[in-house]
């Protein structure tokens, strides 16, 4: 197998609470290959968000290291972008959809190229007709698509997503899940997708890592070999899907 483009080696984070350092995640080892979809699933309180902030360079690991294309991270690296769960806070309410999407690239690209790229990613997420609307004029699912488009505009190699669909209804969620898989196929972007929803993790993932305990550790990593393209109805009925679902529930300790 080829070298992973994104790698996390025995990384730990401790955060200070009232002067005392409390370990949040410990000894995390993960690797992501090109165009791979890695789901990380874990119950609440296992440090999912801390893990993702660390992977995105917003938090520096207390020990261990994270590498992007072999380079050790010292801050948010080129080619890695986070998509946050709370799209309402993460979007710039005073900017139109197109201006939000342009926000990450407008300082680095000539106007024309920037406009073209914005138009292209809006097309990709199906929001071309809403380009001149403001975020508050859009539904929750559309707002989250704006945030995804803003990240894609940077043409990232790795997209880190922190429970991006947790606040959305089931139907919107299903639509966006399929959209992500399609984007992965079209753009070759790798995904690290954090969720507490086991079915979502299995449906999307090429592999599913289980985060467990306090401090959170990677308990095990399951290879998912379900046929592609996945389908919201038929894939979820496959005996293999149900078996993965059962195993992961067991692994997390629900069973």
């Amino acid at each position: 197998m080829a070298e992973p483009i994104f790698e996390c080696r025995s990384a730990s984070v401790a955060l200070a609470f009232g002067g005392q350092a409390r370990p949040i995640v410990s000894d995390i080892g993960l690797s992501v290959h090109e165009a791979e979809f890695l789901s990380i699933v874990g119950p609440s309180g296992t440090g999912k968000t801390t893990l993702l902030r660390m992977l995105g360079g917003l938090l520096r690991p207390t020990s261990g290291e994270i590498r992007m294309r072999g380079e050790v991270l010292t801050g948010p690296p080129d080619g890695v972008v986070i998509v946050f769960q709370d799209y309402g806070n993460a979007l710039l309410q005073w900017r139109t959809v197109a201006a939000n999407v342009a926000f990450g690239i407008e300082r680095h690209l000539p106007r024309k190229e920037c406009d073209e790229r914005v138009a292209a990613v809006l097309e990709l997420v199906g929001l071309s007709k809403r380009a001149s609307d403001y975020p508050w004029q859009l539904s929750g699912g559309m707002q989250q698509r704006v945030q995804i488009a803003r990240a894609l505009a940077l043409r990232p190699a790795v997209l880190l997503m922190d429970e991006p669909f947790a606040a959305l209804d089931a139907m919107t969620k299903a639509g966006l899940q399929d959209e992500l898989l399609r984007l992965r196929d079209q753009t070759g972007t790798s995904f690290v997708f954090i969720t507490h929803d086991i079915e979502e993790a299995v449906y999307l993932g090429d592999r599913v890592a289980v985060l467990k305990g306090s401090p959170g550790r990677i308990d095990n990593i399951v290879d998912i070999t379900l046929p592609s393209p996945r389908d919201q109805v038929t894939t979820r009925q496959l005996p293999e899907f149900l078996a993965y679902r059962y195993d992961l529930h067991q692994a997390i300790g629900h069973g």
Partner: protein, 257 residues
Amino acid sequence: MAETARGRLNWTGLGVFALVLLVWEAAVRSGLIAFEFFPPPSRILLGIVALTRDGVMLQDLLHTLGSIAAGWSIAMLIGVAIGVLLGFSPTARRFGLASVEVLRPMPGIAFAPVGLLLFGFSLQTELVVTVLPTIWPVMVNTMGGIANVHPRLGDVGRTLRLSNTEIVRHLLLPAALPSIIVGARISLGLALVMAIVAEIVGNPAGLGYGIVREQQAMNPEYMFAYIAVVGILGIALNAGVVALTTALWPATSRVTL
């Protein structure tokens, strides 16, 4: 305000106001209210017309408008600058907030004698009295606006690889803009009040001095004419800021106005 949220005139509200004027007119004319120096609205209106024809009203209006513009602009510069600094930096708050909290409750008018002593009956005195209290509303609102920006916006800036100055300029300031505008509007109202006060006590010029001058000359309809013009000026200034804000930042005005 006489306007509804959609910008159309509120006819019902204006009708009530017209009714109040009518009752006032009738009460004075019928002798129900009988003061020696209390004119009915119609006489005040004639007073405005006479003073305007004479040219003195325009001259006084321009003086006051100029003082407000100068005083408010200076106060905005100082207030936004200090507010941004205190909003961003916990260290600045630790060192500076106590001084601000000591100075802020002091009534601006208390500085009129200071201004008089330093600058005499002059425009400088008027500006001292206008600027000092006008700083605080915009400063406090700017500080609060910056400090209350959701931390997620900082995360967004960092994951999109903006520098710290870019985060301040492109994320924190625009996000705090609605609060800054609210502060600017309160400050503008205060600048009008303080300019009039300063003209009454410290600088014999403008609309404020016009009120005193006509009172001492025992011309009540002229005195009330000046008061009415001050009121109209207040409404016009507020409408001006609203129009300017809407033109400059349409998306922000939706939340603020």
